[in-house]
């Protein structure tokens, strides 16, 4: 529908300038970088005793536990930050997988044109008619069994050779296997928008004279795609990557909230919120279990959306007013 954008506005050279003047987007970027840094560094600095389960469950925020403790007596600050690691990590990795699939698919479809294009785009439409969340759930169910099976196989192999240390490590990794499964499943489903956007751009770019020129000079189609089209697509890909990350994070937390995603002892914002929502009752409020993950998650999603909107205003020729 939007394919016929004016070619002249494809490469607005002042995109980064526009972005820098967008104060909300700059603040959002700083917030996200700061949060990622804290999530990576701080859990390693916390005392070991805080990370373990203890008998002190549901302790309200205090000087010993800044954000209180959860049902297993684990410190909420630690849980929250390791949840941030998982949520942001799954968001980033899942969006990256979807970026690779979507970009390749969109470029091939747009560049090939004609019948190939129409078959590939019909396929996207059909996949879009399957409820997305359902697709993800089926993929998770399928992949989870396989991945757990592989990890068990490795563990047994390690045991058979009596590498006990390795076997122990492998069984610890098994708790986090769901993270890998989530990344792959979400990445395999979220690429549809990216493919449509990239295809639309390629349709416009392909008609431009520099493409004709390089084809006339003997450049192969693949070379044109890689050397000339991809650089011109980079900003729009970056923009939609930024908008895909919150979508992946939302889906991940959605599934974890329903109990289909990240499992204990690993945590994500969704699984923390699930734990928090389970204990709301009128008699005794354990607000810290719900409020902290909710605020952090909403703030991160808001920042990602602000940044994505800022990038889109700066780089997407079709969104300008």
């Amino acid at each position: 529908m939007h394919e016929a954008a004016a070619p002249a506005s494809i490469a607005r050279p002042d995109g980064w300038q526009i972005l820098k003047r967008n104060r909300a987007a700059v603040i959002a970027l700083c917030f996200l970088l700061g949060l990622s840094l804290i999530a990576i560094v701080v859990p390693g600095l916390l005392p070991e005793a805080l990370k373990l389960t203890s008998s002190e469950s549901f302790v309200a925020p205090s000087s010993a536990h800044f954000l209180g403790t959860d049902v297993n007596g684990q410190d909420m600050l630690y849980r929250l930050l390791s949840g941030a690691r998982v949520s942001l990590g799954v968001g980033l990795a899942g969006a990256f997988i979807s970026l690779i699939i979507g970009t390749l698919y969109g470029m091939i479809s747009g560049y090939a044109g004609g019948r190939v294009d129409s078959v590939m785009m019909r396929t996207v439409e059909v996949i879009q008619s399957v409820p997305r969340i359902l697709f993800i759930m089926i993929l998770i169910a399928a992949l989870d069994d396989y991945v757990k099976g592989w990890i068990d196989g490795w563990r047994l192999a390690a045991q058979a050779r009596s590498w006990t240390e390795l076997a122990k490590n492998i069984s610890e990794v098994k708790a986090y296997s769901k993270v890998l499964v989530m990344i792959v499943s979400l990445g395999l489903v979220e690429w549809l928008t990216m493919a449509r956007i990239v295809r639309g751009q390629v349709l416009v770019l392909r008609e431009m004279t520099f493409v004709t020129a390089s084809l006339a000079m003997g450049q192969s189609s693949w070379g044109v795609l890689r050397r000339h089209l991809l650089p011109n697509l980079s900003t729009i890909i970056l923009t939609y990557l930024t908008l895909t990350i919150p979508a992946v994070i939302l889906d991940e937390s959605f599934l974890s909230f329903l109990g289909l995603g990240i499992e204990d002892p690993a945590a994500s914002w969704g699984s923390l919120l699930k734990d928090g929502a389970q204990v709301i009752n009128p008699l005794e409020s354990k607000w810290w279990l719900l409020v902290f993950p909710a605020v952090l998650m909403a703030a991160s999603l808001l920042a990602l959306n602000f940044l994505g909107d800022g990038l889109r205003d700066a780089f997407d020729p079709k969104s300008g007013e």
Binding site: S129, P131, F135, M137
Partner: protein, 306 residues
Amino acid sequence: MLPFLLRRAFSSVIVIFCVISITFVLARITPGGPFDTDKVVSDQVMKAKLARYHLDGSTWAQYTAYVSAIVHLDLGVSTKYRDWRVSELLQQKLPNSFMLGGLAFVIASCSGVLLGSLAAMKKDTWIDRVAMFGALLSISIPSFISGPFLIACFALWLGWLPVGGWGTVSQMILPAICLAAPYIAYVARLMRNSLLDVLKSDFMRTARAKGLTETQAVARHAVKVAILPVITFLGPLAANLLTGSMIVESVFNISGAGMIFVNSIQNRDVFVLCGAVIVYCVLLVLFNLFVDVIYTLLDKRIKLYA
């Protein structure tokens, strides 16, 4: 119009068929069968159980058996809830979801269009900024955050509305708002951008020149054109909302179709899963068709190509 409808009906049937095929095959090649969590039985008994539901044999044979049942308008039998037909299950669960979804749809579309128009007319004032910030905020707050907070605030703290359940009007308010909130924001953003484009057009200058106030000009002329992109978005939105949101249903303890989706995947209840997907897909196709027809009624320049 008629050739267009026929052509669309034909392509819709193909889309629905593809989606059913994808779902069925995916569900069947997923490891784990529908009876794996039951008590352990001998291979022979298991085989007989599977045969009863035509789930033995190759995936291809199962698939053809299912498709021929579908063609005869038979959605099959649940493997988990014994003696329940899929159609009966859907009949029981869908009305609640339709009600909730319909309410949320009305809230989302009406307040979204109003807010978006207001923001566009007051562009670059504080009203616009507050509305657009609020929109981004409500997109960033998923329903599993807003749900518990709405409950904590309005049900537990203020005590105005019930915590959960379904049936009375007061029980419907919180879940409908919770489900509609992010979509109000999407609609408002779409409406604002679209109306901003229209406000710059020539016919709006004419309308102002002939002495209409800005509000009159917008209400009589601009909204009719600006609402077109919003309507495109409303089609899939309606299908999404009507088939139920699993989160809102689970937070507010409503027995609806959303949980059928989740449970049928967990239970490998392939016929219920496919039945739910079919309902979703048919609704999606119908609403998209509906959107195209409304388009021609609102904008006489658009012809439906057969």
